[in-house]
């Protein structure tokens, strides 16, 4: 299989993630959508690493993405828990205390 196949897969994953983030109103699912987008980036990086295989920068990059995604999930879940404690809901439609 060529690089194109992997890129197509990554584009589909990224699209599903972005669509999920934009259409779903549950913050936990939005967080999962973001994780899906980050993982699609890993697919792109690994696919291109096969093309530019001189120093495996792509693979190294992917490791960092995995580590940062974990840190991001930790901070994000902590904020969501704090939010849930106050509001008793994690629906974005209810987050309208601050506007205009």
């Amino acid at each position: 299989m060529g690089v194109g196949t992997y890129l197509a897969l990554a584009a589909v994953l990224f699209g599903i993630g972005a669509a999920g983030f934009l259409t779903r109103r549950n913050m936990l699912i939005q967080l999962m959508s973001i994780e899906l987008m980050l993982n699609s980036v890993n697919v792109v990086l690994l696919a291109f690493n096969r093309v530019h295989s001189a120093n495996h920068e792509g693979q190294v990059f992917a490791f960092f993405v995995i580590a940062v995604a974990a840190a991001e999930a930790a901070v994000g879940l902590a904020i969501l828990v704090a939010y849930y404690r106050i509001k008793k809901t994690i629906d974005t439609d209810d987050a309208r205390l601050l506007k205009y």
């Binding site: 890129l7 990224f14 993630g17 972005a18 983030f21 913050m27 939005q30 967080l31 973001i34 987008m37 980050l38 699609s40 980036v41 792109v44 990086l45 696919a47 291109f48 093309v51 530019h52 001189a54 920068e57 792509g58 190294v60 990059f61 960092f64 993405v65 940062v68 840190a71 991001e72 901070v75 994000g76 902590a78 904020i79 969501l80 704090a82 939010y83 106050i86 509001k87 974005t92 987050a95 205390l97 601050l98 506007k99 205009y100």
Partner: protein, 495 residues
């Protein structure tokens, strides 16, 4: 390899050491220890260290293994100074504010230092990998700082919005980085520049990558239409955090915007007036200036007005970046000067807002400020200097900031002249809401039975205000030296 070899990145190392030490001190110390003072001192020491290297002729050395990811150039040192000064002043403000409102906990200062560290890494990043790591180090700290007052519904809602939109933008930026790596085979910006300039990059992938990078960076700068998080998270966060975000986080985002656009995509074709990235920045800048100023007009909360004003200021900064295709070094130096001037002016304005309120009697809306100038003339005076500088009145730093940015646009010629005209008009709109602060301070009286804000007493807040007011006025009367630094940073970066 000796310690001297690491001089080029010493401000970063200093902050990491200070942050780790602070965590230990916080764990073992009794309450009411002077963490704010220690934090501010470490950040100011970082600024002094970077500043001394900036003014000395020789650039400090750094090992190649480090400079491959983090530049040790004058641009990076200049942003070190700006971020450390902004962070240090915010730490002083926090020392007064958090204690007054009974919110002081040690982790605040640790987060502040590590977020400032992330911002400095981002401002020095010369590799897609270090851009991503710096961005996330900075952003994760900033999300936590916004949510710091975790029992407040507003703070947590602001943090949730900031976190969700911020990580979405970071994911887009990351996808763009991966595509750029694919298009050029490089993750370092210098290598990318070579390939792009030679025209060897896959055109479709490269354009797609640039668009996605721009979306991510425009989000971090707070440019319209990627500004939605700015007013909400700025309003929800405690005011010292708002101050810190509006100066340090924004400065770092501007730095990486310069490094990516003028650095990696700085060749003739990519910068071209009609087919490169210049028209995109041109349009972003117009939208940001117009929307930021108009939205600020409609606010009744001063804090939210200052949030929209920081959106508008992002627009003025983009004017300078748009002018870089024609007058590269001058435009970049104008942007650098603007960022420095904006940093001290914004600290002054937000700091004055902090000083005007005390526990249970916080100053938030214009009405809270009514008549405060006559009741408390000493506390209100710095507010006047702050808003005048944000407005761009001489003799303040803000005037020269706007002057250099707009004259760069005029020198670039062509459609950029209209950008400068629009910028001046937009600043005119800004006069309405900035002067409204002064009108309420001095020419209104609070209505019968209305709660009035009472200024707090804090040596820390006063120190931060005196320092920032000093630099606002000094940069407005004698801008020469600061402009020289900006020019030397910009020209060494462009050559």
């Amino acid at each position: 390899m000796s310690a001297v070899d690491f001089m080029g990145v010493s401000p970063l190392l200093l902050l990491v050491g200070a942050g780790l030490a602070l965590m230990l001190v916080d764990a073992f110390s009794a309450e009411r220890s002077e963490l704010a003072l220690v934090t501010a001192a470490s950040l100011f020491a970082g600024a002094a260290l970077a500043g001394s290297m900036l003014v000395s002729g020789e650039l400090p050395a750094a090992p190649e293994l480090v400079t491959r990811y983090l530049a040790a150039d004058r641009l990076g040192l200049l942003f070190d100074v700006v971020i450390c000064v902004g962070g240090g002043l915010s730490a002083l403000l926090a020392g007064g504010y958090l204690r007054e409102h009974g919110l002081e906990r040690g982790e605040f200062y640790v987060l502040l230092i590590f977020t400032a560290f992330g911002a400095m890494v981002l401002a020095r990043a010369v590799d897609l990998l270090s851009i991503f790591l710096g961005l996330e180090t900075m952003s994760l700290g900033a999300y936590a700082l916004v949510a710091y007052r975790r029992t407040s519904a507003r703070a947590v809602e602001g943090a949730v919005k900031y976190f969700l939109l911020g990580s979405f933008a970071a994911a887009i930026l990351l996808f763009g980085s991966a595509l750029l790596y694919g298009a050029t085979g490089h993750t370092d910006l210098a290598g990318i520049r070579e390939v792009v300039a030679a025209g060897d990059a896959d055109p479709i992938l490269a354009v797609l990558a640039l668009v996605m990078l721009l979306v991510g960076l425009a989000f971090k700068v707070g440019a319209v239409p990627f500004h939605m998080w700015v007013p909400d998270s700025y309003e929800g966060a405690v005011t010292p955090v708002t101050t810190f975000m509006s100066v340090a986080v924004k400065a770092a985002a501007v730095a990486v915007l310069i490094r990516v656009l003028v650095g990696a995509f700085g060749d003739e074709a990519s910068m071209s007036l009609y087919t490169g990235w210049t028209p995109v920045i041109f349009l972003l800048s117009i939208a940001t200036m117009v929307y930021g100023n108009l939205a600020a007009l409609a606010q009744s909360s001063v804090k939210r007005m200052l949030a929209y004003s920081s959106v508008a200021h992002a627009g003025y900064i983009l004017v300078g970046i748009a002018a870089a295709h024609e007058v590269g070094a001058f435009a970049v130096s104008a942007v650098l000067f603007y960022v420095a001037a904006y940093t001290v002016s914004n600290v002054l304005a937000f700091g004055s807002l902090i000083l005007m309120g005390s526990k249970g009697k916080e100053a938030v809306s214009y009405d809270d400020l009514a008549g405060a100038g006559r009741r408390h003339p000493m506390a209100a005076f710095p507010f006047v200097i702050g808003v005048l500088s944000l407005l761009g009145m001489p003799p303040t730093a803000g005037f020269f900031g706007k002057y250099y940015v707009f004259s760069a646009a005029v020198q670039a010629g062509g459609p950029m002249v209209w950008l400068a005209v629009l910028g001046v008009l937009a600043s005119g709109v800004g006069a309405y809401y900035y002067l409204k602060v002064i009108v309420y301070l001095y020419m209104r009286e609070p209505e019968e039975g209305q709660a009035i804000a009472v200024p707090m007493q804090s040596i820390y807040v006063v120190a931060a205000l005196v320092l920032s007011a000093y630099y606002v006025v000094k940069m407005g009367i004698m801008p020469g030296r600061y402009l020289d630094w900006a020019v030397s940073a910009a020209s060494s970066f462009m050559s």
